[in-house]
Symmetry: C2
Amino acid sequence: MKTKIIKEFGTPCLIIDLDVVERNIQRAQKLCDKAGVANRPHIKTHKSPLLAKMQIEAGARGITCQKLGEAEVMADAGITDIIVATNLLGAARSGRLAALQQRIALKVCADNPVVLEAYSNAARESGRPLDVMIECDTGQKRAGVETPGEALALAQIINNDPMLNFAGLLFYPALDTWPETQIFLDKMIRGFAVLGMRHGIISTGGTPNFPNIGKLLGATEHRAGTCIFNDRMMIEAGFAQQGDCALHVFTSVVSRGGEDRGILDAGSKTLTSDTGGLDGYGLIREYPKARIHKFAEEHGFLDLSRCHTKPEVGDILRVIPNHVCVTVNMVDQLVAVRGDTIIETIPVSARGMLI
Amino acid sequence: MKTKIIKEFGTPCLIIDLDVVERNIQRAQKLCDKAGVANRPHIKTHKSPLLAKMQIEAGARGITCQKLGEAEVMADAGITDIIVATNLLGAARSGRLAALQQRIALKVCADNPVVLEAYSNAARESGRPLDVMIECDTGQKRAGVETPGEALALAQIINNDPMLNFAGLLFYPALDTWPETQIFLDKMIRGFAVLGMRHGIISTGGTPNFPNIGKLLGATEHRAGTCIFNDRMMIEAGFAQQGDCALHVFTSVVSRGGEDRGILDAGSKTLTSDTGGLDGYGLIREYPKARIHKFAEEHGFLDLSRCHTKPEVGDILRVIPNHVCVTVNMVDQLVAVRGDTIIETIPVSARGMLI
């Protein structure tokens, strides 16, 4: 397998095993089904219409994107039920949001009135009302309004604007803020009742939150990205085991300096400098005690001091990246295999979408 | 200018000012000219044939690449004097090195016999000898042989192989290892004399090493990448001032949570998680005391606690990235301006070349 890969593609190269991908897609779908919420996978992880369609065929209601450019690529491929889960200010002001909104009924998100105004202008430009969800923050200190009062105020602005439709609430709750999310949501539901508004989609998110899926009463959808491939962070989080990791970076040992040093041909321009909060930059399957401790742009530096046997120059190693979403975003294609057979190359069509 | 940019391109967007680019190209060329060494800029920073040709027109002898894929793109654009400054094992074994070697007389690098063997096989496949330089490490603990003895042994392997030509030595000396590099090089020159070999190119590298250019007696070329754009690392290193930074990431403030928090639409998929050893992820020109302290994939999280005035949602900010080379590698195009006028878009044609 390694020999075939290097002959056809060289190294470094990103390999996904479709058998594992399919198993992972099924697993996420079943977890959603069991909890009684719709599955709306986040495609930021794979950025591939082909893989998004596999998720939809397995039962997903639609998809989640993080960038308008990603939604454009997915719409081009015929996928039309899309939430873009972020404040789309740059895209709204550039005219690209209006252009896409003319083609499909997009759902977008906001956490402030400035973005709502840009959405309203974009909808006017496109000629039809835009579905808007409100992003809510229940302790993560990421994007999102922090109180039900603010969320209801935004919902009313949307409700009063003929060019905007209120479409629901977007949460990104972590394990430790789940009860707070319930309190927040209950207050919102009471508020909606007073205002005579429908609550729309109630979306929760995140692969590490699957163990809590179903606990938020009122949730209607879950969006998770990483679970299609998994990575070292998901292993650390207890959600995945090594065999659940569908993506490996195949990389060659290109140099050995001294007893304990080695150099891979995968550096920060392949694996990225995103540690995901872990020690070292990836798990080497063949040498789990080797530590990728530093990067140059095209080199990964190995500390081999804890390895009994050590890799030699020319060896090809398989690395599970710490954070698979940012690694996939570095490349234009993935090589899809089943076990030892190379099946096809899959373009990462929505890679590098800034807007 | 900001309004024009967001209307035409949205945010985030990478903007280069060609006036500053031209000034930076001239500056590097003059520093090389004054030191009496040839200029061979490293194109890993810009990955653009158009910009590489501007460097050659300003006097550069040729270019340096870090990946075979980069050299392929440059060769397609008509640039033929290229050093690929790394152990090209994956590319050599895949057949792509042989294919490019059939088209142009490439110079490649090695620091071990396994790579030399792969080069020899590739050269046999291509049908003509391959020029090989030896990478030497004089204290950085990156790639490179660590002793003149090892370097001479590799030089002899190259010399004895009819499919390989010895082409020179590649150093990456830092300020604090300059005297060690001189000792290493002097031993090599004496060794070459004994062996009856010509020393070929003696290449030094790095933008931060410009202050020492000319100090290594015997050096024939210098390769520097970052100086075409500069970045926050080069400001910290004392090589550049803010006005020498040709590239800015234009980004919108898309959310404000609480008094001291803000969110940019540029995250780790735009600016990258590469800190370059600095605190925070970039210098915001309009709010130099604001700190980009954390990333999500598409969000940069601002700590505004040290700012007297604070940006509002909708403001467009200009960020000098910590490490410009990895930031450029995230995008498919740069928007080129002169002052307030948008001139053209420049494709980052050699972006994301894994091999």
